[in-house]
């Protein structure tokens, strides 16, 4: 009745950082079993000194049977002895102060209560040491598992936010009517636009750089609204053009949007590969979402070309519209991707990691790559505007 309670108490939950202290040596039995006749006065003195501090608890030997025989006449002493043994066996690696206090209280409880049925208490406590060990290891396992689960959760969160940056996507969709109109005009007539640099958003409290401004506040910020709407419009217009030629099938929708998405993905991969080969760190401040947005602005020109071809104005006008939209889009991309590939000007977005060490050859290569990206718009736009 009392011994299970005592056994549940004697491996206290404070002992569970056991394996983290391997520096404490396991308790040494102070006397051999051959000297077991002298163990009774020793344990008496040990018990007395144990009341002061719990250090001499470790002096109890693992020779409990002989001590049991010797100390059977003493009232309650075997209980104390097995208590000592249990402490010595369970808390072999424990920090001594903690286990000393806890074991001291448990010993005082067992000394008063479980005296007469000492052998039974000995047996049950001998078994009780094993649930004590299992409890400690189970707690340690639970703690380890919890930390592992937390680490896995953090890993998933970090990678999910890295590969699918939801706040960035939400920022890219925060547009206004005036922004959309101005941005469309900028994409189609980018020649006279003057400040091409994006504005940074300052942190409220310390004035540090806190990312780029949202598109609703900055005309130069890339958004995803116009590319998405232009993509859908292109798909519907391609289907309409097929319908006007009375060649419409329902597969036309899937084909046109698949080829459009293929173009977007290919260009995105090309730009990412170029950034890797040209050693542009982290896209130079632009994420993949913004690269997708920049790649999607070509659909505005494609839509204009398709509309010009729908109006049946002749192939010369159609080609002129295509050429003009290509030039405008290429110029727009040259100006906009410049801060991605050439972050060398001392902009407020302090990307100092890659900015200062840009040699002449590297800069020339980046300019060539930027020019190649801008010129390759002709290929994509020509392929997509043939509906």
């Amino acid at each position: 009745m009392d011994t299970p309670y005592m056994n549940s108490r004697s491996p206290p939950p404070l002992q569970h950082p056991k394996p983290t202290h391997p520096a404490y040596p396991p308790p040494e039995p102070p006397h051999t079993p051959g000297r077991s006749s002298a163990s009774s006065p020793y344990s008496q003195t040990g018990r007395l000194s144990m009341e002061a501090d719990g250090y001499t608890r470790y002096s109890s030997p693992p020779v409990g049977v002989e001590q049991h025989h010797h100390q059977q006449p003493f009232h309650g002493t075997p209980q104390q002895q097995q208590q000592q043994q249990q402490q010595a066996s369970t808390s072999g690696y424990a920090p001594q102060g903690v286990s000393g206090q806890m074991g001291g209280s448990a010993h005082a409880r067992g000394f008063g209560a479980a005296g007469p049925n000492a052998p039974m208490g000995y047996d049950t406590s001998g078994f009780g040491a094993w649930p004590g060990m299992n409890d400690a290891t189970a707690q340690m396992g639970v703690q380890f598992g919890r930390s592992a689960v937390a680490a896995g959760h953090d890993y998933v969160e970090k990678n999910l936010s890295r590969y699918l940056p939801l706040p960035l996507v939400k920022t890219c969709f925060s547009v206004t009517n005036s922004y959309v109109l101005r941005k469309l005009r900028l994409v189609l007539f980018p020649w006279r636009h003057k400040p091409w640099s994006r504005q940074v958003r300052r942190g409220a409290e310390h004035g540090g750089v806190d990312g780029w401004m949202a598109p609703r506040d900055d005309i130069n910020a890339p958004d995803l609204y116009i590319p998405t709407m232009a993509l859908v419009t292109y798909t519907l217009l391609a289907a309409l053009a097929r319908g006007l030629q009375s060649r419409f099938k329902p597969e036309v929708l899937g084909e046109s949007i698949s080829s459009a998405i293929l173009v977007v993905i290919l260009e995105f991969l090309l730009v990412k590969l170029g950034c890797y080969f040209l050693d542009v760190r982290g896209g130079g401040g632009a994420s993949g979402v913004e690269l997708l947005a920049y790649g999607g602005y070509k659909f505005v020109g494609i839509v204009a070309t398709v509309i010009a071809s729908l109006l049946q104005l002749g192939s010369a006008v159609q080609f002129a519209v295509f050429f003009y939209t290509f030039c405008a889009n290429a110029f727009f991309l040259l100006r906009s991707l410049k801060y991605v590939l050439l972050p060398d000007r001392s902009s407020a977005m302090s990307d100092v990691a890659s900015a200062p060490s840009l040699s002449h050859g590297q800069r020339a290569r980046r300019v060539q790559f930027l020019f190649g990206v801008a010129v390759s718009q002709a290929l994509w736009m020509w392929w997509l505007s043939r509906v």
């Binding site: 698949s258 998405i261 993905i265 890797y276 080969f277 060490s357 590297q362």
Partner: protein, 96 residues
Amino acid sequence: MFYLGHIFYVALLFTNAIAILSEDRFLARIGWSSRGTPATNSGFGNDPSYDAAYGGGEGVSMKTKAINLIGAVRTLMRLPLIVANVVVIFYEILLG
């Protein structure tokens, strides 16, 4: 024309093509082996030239970057490629 499934097939085949490049028989013969380069063979960052090569950003040529990319694809995409190939093969057998 193209569909999204075809885009996936094209990406899968290209990744297969990168991952299937033999280290001994092909890449070492054209001098693109990742074993000869000390910066890529250093393991987990115990070579100080690793940090010098990747922290400075100047001394890494495009060839080294391409070798690193091939090695990364071969190492990282092995298991996903096995799974994706098995899935696509069964899909094509059953429904194609």
